[in-house]
Symmetry: C2
Subunit: 244 residues, 2 copies
DNA sequence: ATCTGTTATCTGTGATCACACATAGCAGAC
DNA sequence: GTCTGCTATGTGTGATCACAGATAACAGAT
């Protein structure tokens, strides 16, 4: 029987220090750029659910041909971040109550796992970054006129710093994909105005999370995160703006 | 303030029964076909980790131009089912031990959720289908010369019938994406020969799972599934064929 | 014989074009 | 005024081409 071992990565350079000494050239394609831009658009909640896109329109907006846009859009569609209708039209997916509730359940499972793992694997710099985001969010809330968009941004940074600390790259990508899907409705959330930030209890869960993280108490970190996810979801559901 | 409600789906046909009486025309593009074919290739484990593909090669094999292949490949790359190297070459991702272990953790979380939910939502036809798959797998194992590939197929059908019963479409898609990633190594698993099917304890976990499912005992279903996933993972890890 | 620099071929990327389908706008009939 | 059918425009899909970078084969030097 022939060798069953899996193929190895290609051989490295002769001088191993050489690669470290000069920054690698990252050639990124136009499709990558468009992909990243659209991703940012969705994550920041600057695209409303149901909004339609045309390939030529996007291409013109970015200043390229339709080709890179096609590739970027099909990638996003594969992640459920965009939707291609049977008519072949492409739009930001609608968010029904059922879909939102399912996403919240999946997020609890995956982000809970990431949070608990982060409690084990976070190093000093991870903790510092998480602390920084937590303080920024809390500070924004304390302001006389809190900026909803800014708070939402700090909230996202806090969550992703936590998930990054778990050092599970595949899991991180999957969570990012989930946030891509809820991005368009988070938009509606902070449009609710400053009282959302002021009145919410997110800062309480954040504080509990950070505290448990420093104690390296995985289950407690997970618990605090789940409370955060669940409460934010309840707020959106209670607003009654999701169809179905 | 303007209307905050989300856009609705387009209006339906005037005669609501008409749509039901004539099977809808599904126009599927070449890109969809290529996507489905490549997916099947990976899921069935007929592609080895590290194997390289060229767009033109795939296009010639299927009898189309490179264009639909490009779209299919970029979709699969977005799901981590394929990998584009910095050289822009596309290959089946390598499976390191770390990656395998991370995937097993994520699978436990997601498939555990699906299993527990299925216990609540499964209807009679779901149960029947799951029973059928379980019997087929057990029967294959009892044979004097069990067919590893066939057993693996029944195993997959059993798992997916269970996950489908949870009625969580997004979760189902994510699990499918995970299986797409482990498909290439499952191949190596059943290549281990009939003793893998015979000696394994998969049938025990399957039986426990089905039994718990009929009792609608969600936690028990999850527990049986986790045992199945964990044990199969241990077997592959113990073979020592995964690099890193 | 081994290594290095060159050249030829191949591969992915992106632009452009042709085609089929979908949609919207408009005119005519009732 | 409302409905039906046609027409014009727009859109996604897929093929083809040009180009830059990568890979591999090869020749010359040491």
């Amino acid at each position: 029987m022939e060798d069953k071992s899996l193929p190895e990565d290609p051989a490295q350079a002769l001088d191993p220090t050489l690669g470290d000494r000069m920054g690698k050239i990252v050639r990124l394609t136009l499709a990558d750029t468009v992909y990243r831009d659209l991703k940012e658009l969705l994550l920041a909640g600057r695209a409303a659910p149901g909004e339609r896109f045309t390939l030529r329109g996007l291409a013109a907006a970015i200043g390229t041909s339709a080709m890179p846009v096609r590739e970027a859009v099909s990638r996003l569609a594969a992640e459920n971040a965009l939707e291609v209708l049977p008519n072949r039209a492409v739009r930001v997916p609608l968010m029904s109550r059922a879909r939102f509730i399912e996403l919240r359940l999946i997020r609890s499972s995956l982000e809970g796992l990431a949070a608990e793992t982060a409690a084990l694997n976070a190093d000093a710099s991870d903790l510092a970054e998480i602390n920084r985001c937590e303080r920024l969010f809390a500070a924004e809330r304390e302001k006389p006129r809190p900026d909803g968009a800014a708070a939402m941004h700090f909230n996202k940074d806090l969550h992703f710093a936590l998930y990054r600390a778990a050092r599970m790259p595949i899991l991180f990508g999957m969570i990012e994909s989930l946030w891509l899907q809820i991005g368009p409705v988070l938009n509606l959330d902070f449009q609710a105005g400053p009282e959302r930030v002021r009145g919410g209890e997110a800062h309480i869960h954040h504080a509990a999370l950070v505290e448990a993280l420093h104690r390296r108490d995985g289950p407690a970190v997970r618990q605090a995160l789940l409370a955060d996810i669940w409460h934010a979801g309840d707020f959106i559901l209670s607003r009654g703006i999701l169809p179905d």
